[in-house]
Symmetry: C2
Subunit: 224 residues, 2 copies
DNA sequence: CGCTCTATTGATAAACCTCAAATACAGTGG
DNA sequence: CCACTGTATTTGAGGTTTATCAATAGAGCG
């Protein structure tokens, strides 16, 4: 499918030249809850996540968090903001032990000049995110909370799912509040929904842990 | 402000080389309601709007329209989808008499190879849209309908406002349904809200026509 | 074991959608 | 110029989803 062509190229490129990149960039380790950069700060560095998970979020006028995206290994963060000399539009926080590669502005521009193809790959990565967000905007405006939660679970299975004999475990520590903040619902609605699903035997969950035992049921819900 | 640097460059570039571009691309005129391309079709052409207005929308599962964005003169449509060899992610429809410049895939790639800077400018344009949509996603998930309508009106004033002695006229023929589909509300809620504002003397509206007479009041509402 | 953070669950309220019906308006053809 | 027709808008009534509030229970940690 053409859809993932360029994104995969970007990931492959970054992966092939891993040694080079590490020499040009700097490895950095984060512990859970560490904040990598904050919304509104001048964008100084570009990041590539190699292990763990980042949460990209904005604050609304009431001080509540809205989670724009979760960043898993192979994804970049902040690159276009750096290229444009702008501010970070979101806050990036580690949800678990996370490793990133850091380039400062000069290093990242040098990297692109050395590999001009990266500019096009980056364009396609940003475009992927735009398309994804367009779809989620549609869902937020026309589907109800249960469907949006189901779709989020399915997406998480793809990006952070670990096959297990008991089901697919979501390898990101997500609270009910984290889920709510991502799909535009309240923590209470999320809690009630997951409780119902658990009673139906579709998933198992404990504090910040989710294992999906009946993916088909959730996919069917998402298509409703 | 750094924020608009690249977008403006793209517009300027396209404008400076207008004659060149017209020779490479083809001028095309649309009448109101004409559909330029449809969601799901293979992306064949890139467009630059030079006059009029396009509505970019997706269909939800119930067949309802969700309007992702309005495209006004100087903005592009479909470029990244063409570069990636993908499908159009949205449907583009003219809301008034509209002129676009068309490049087929080969022509557009040739254009970029002749002016490599365009790739970076395009990246920044796509990034602008991503940031805009991130902000609207936040608003949709945490603000109520009245505030979202107010913010849409303010945004329209900037992009399609015509100063007039009686106020700022929105130079796009928007139905209540069009407004509702953009901000994720029902036509009825939009109608009630505009009626209230009209009674307060903040705007005047007739069928598909809006003139804002008290921008300050709407801006204050948006900041609530 | 107590402290803190997270999750659950019930009761209530608010925002908003849906449905229905009336009204206003633009364009058309006689 | 006017009636006619189809579309757009308005407004009320009622229902639904979901947020909010409050109270409780549970999990992890020192």
């Amino acid at each position: 499918m053409g859809k993932c062509l360029y994104q995969h190229n970007l990931k492959a490129l970054l992966s092939d030249q891993y040694e080079d990149l590490v020499q040009q960039g700097i490895r950095k380790n984060l512990i859970p809850m560490d904040i990598l950069f904050r919304e509104g700060e001048a964008a100084a560095n570009s990041y590539l996540v190699t292990k763990g998970c980042l949460k990209l979020s904005k604050l609304n006028a009431q001080g509540g968090e809205v989670i724009i995206r979760y960043i898993t290994p192979g994804d970049m963060a902040a690159a276009p903001a750096v290229l444009r000399n702008g501010d970070y539009p979101v806050t990036a926080q580690a949800l678990k032990f996370t490793e990133v590669i850091v380039w400062d502005k000069e290093g990242f521009i040098a990297l692109i000049q050395k590999n001009p193809k990266i500019a096009m790959d980056l364009l396609m990565t940003v475009y992927d995110r735009l398309e994804d967000l367009q779809t989620r905007y549609l869902e937020l405006s026309s589907e109800q909370a249960e469907q949006r939660i189901a779709k989020m679970m399915i997406s998480l299975m793809k990006h952070a799912g670990q096959e297990h004999s008991s089901g697919v475990h979501i390898d990101i520590p997500l609270s009910r509040q984290n889920i709510a903040d991502h799909i535009g619902a309240s923590m209470y609605t999320v809690s009630r929904t997951l409780s119902t699903w658990e009673k139906s035997g579709w998933l198992k969950s404990s504090r910040k842990q989710i294992t999906i035992t009946n993916p088909g049921a959730l996919k069917a819900l998402g298509k409703t």
